[in-house]
């Protein structure tokens, strides 16, 4: 009885994959090559705000709401995702990014402390809707490079770009 229930649970989890969580999160030990020390609190804040940014990005792209980006994105990243949202709205599209897992490693903390860079081996499911009709749902594995800068109360994402693995 136990085994079938386990398998069933797996399928139910798969069916409900577009829940609103971030999936599993792994943070690799930081190996910075700069003389600036990264305090644990700073590292925790950066990871927290980076993960929040993914949630925000999903909500903004799913609802086609540019204003949602303001909380977690700035500069180039905000402009770029705002343009995507504008294009989606014009084309009648929406997209939904459901994170399954993050494997995060901070790789650069600029000497003056005004930017921090991380790489994230992420897996997520992306769902495309055209006029609210689901066109496709695709599992994706990708490596993202992110650059965050501090603002008054939180770190904001300035660059978020997938790179070729």
């Amino acid at each position: 009885m136990t085994r079938p229930m386990t398998i069933l649970c797996c399928f139910l989890v798969a069916a409900g994959a577009f829940a609103s969580d971030q999936g599993s999160v792994t943070v690799e030990p930081t190996a910075l090559q700069v003389p600036r020390q990264l305090a644990k609190q700073t590292e925790a804040a950066v990871v927290r705000d980076y993960l929040d940014a993914w949630q925000t990005l999903d909500a903004a792209l799913n609802q086609n709401q540019v204003d949602l980006l303001n909380q977690d994105f700035a500069g180039l990243a905000r402009e770029r995702f705002a343009a995507t949202i504008a294009d989606q709205a014009r084309l009648g599209l929406r997209s939904h990014y459901q994170e399954r897992s993050h494997d995060i490693k901070i790789i650069f903390y600029s000497p003056e402390g005004l930017s921090i860079q991380l790489i994230d081996d992420i897996s997520y499911d992306v769902e495309l809707l055209d006029h609210d009709r689901v066109i496709a749902s695709q599992p994706v594995r990708a490596r993202y490079v992110a650059v965050l800068t501090p603002t008054e109360v939180r770190w904001k994402v300035r660059v978020l770009q997938a790179e070729q693995k």
Binding site: L76, R80, D87, S110, P111, L128, A136, V147, L160
Partner: protein, 291 residues
């Protein structure tokens, strides 16, 4: 719940998911496309279809005639990233993934140099961080040489070359021994960015004062203030003269004007007078009616 019932439910869920997507096949896509470059996607079959290309950084939607390649002109897809392509036509859906990679040629730099004002002769006192972007503002993540040059008049320039890691490069530089504005240049490929670092004199070195009587006062005057590299200390630097006499203390703070500091204190026989600025102590005078 029995195992057959659980299995049946699982199959129903799987079937429902496939039905939502239609028949899925792999789309024949280029593995990578350079940002902003023209490219095409071949299609097979016949009839009308719609091609979707989606990534968080950009989304495209094109009507397509199956059997004909779908052409993308230069500049159509210019944001680097990982993209999912979906060709939806009739009852079938073809999907695939590909990467848009940044152009290799740097086109702009995000260059931050700190501080903007620094004392002379400080080892690794100046730091710089650079992010390298292509002409479409994509971070060039492939290793790219970035050269840093810090130059001042009348001194050889310091030059360092650093290979970027994931688009970022940084370095530390020494401030020069001579005061003045330094030109700090970061360059990658044909693109460069300039910052100006103001190098100011350091703390005074060998602070020395002299005293002479003027009426019932002692006039105190420092020698021209210079740092340990011979640079004149900036006017406005505060110098403190302290007179101790008979258990009381008189303190006068004065700014440096025209390279020297000058103040008057009461002429008390037997007074001990000292001078200091910041953490630097100067000489001490015991006033006996004359220096």
């Amino acid at each position: 719940m029995s195992w057959p019932r659980a299995g049946l439910l699982a199959l129903m869920i799987s079937a429902a998911l496939v039905a939502a997507n239609g028949q899925s096949e792999d789309l024949n896509l280029p593995k990578t496309v350079v940002a902003g470059a023209a490219f095409s996607i071949p299609t097979t079959g016949s009839g009308q279809a719609v091609l979707y290309i989606m990534g968080p950084s950009q989304v495209l939607k094109r009507d397509a005639q199956l059997g004909q390649p779908i052409e993308f002109a230069a500049g159509d897809l210019d944001n680097a990233g990982h993209y999912v392509a979906v060709l939806s036509g009739g009852s079938s859906t073809q999907t695939g993934e590909f990467d848009v990679v940044p152009a290799r040629q740097p086109a702009s730099l995000s260059f931050l140099a700190r501080p903007s004002r620094i004392p002379v002769n400080l080892q690794n006192g100046i730091t710089a961080a650079v992010y390298v972007f292509d002409s479409y503002q994509n971070l060039i993540t492939s290793p790219t040489p970035v050269s840093f040059q810090l130059s001042v008049a009348s001194a050889p320039a310091q030059t360092r070359t650093v290979v970027s890691n994931q688009g970022a490069a940084w370095t530390g530089m020494n401030s020069a021994t001579k005061e003045g504005n330094a030109k700090f240049v970061a360059q990658a490929g044909d693109v460069s960015s300039v910052r100006v670092i103001q190098q100011v004199p350091g703390d005074p070195c060998g602070l020395k004062m002299s005293a002479h009587k003027v009426g019932d006062k002692i006039d105190l005057q420092t020698d021209p203030l210079r740092d340990c590299n011979g640079n004149a200390v900036t006017d406005g630097t505060v110098v403190t003269f302290t007179e101790s006499w008979n258990g009381s203390q008189t303190t006068v703070d004065v700014p440096v004007k025209h390279g020297i500091a000058e103040a008057q204190v009461p002429a008390n026989i037997g007074a001990r007078i000292s001078v200091a600025t910041g953490v630097v102590m100067g000489n001490e005078i015991r006033w006996e009616g004359h220096e």
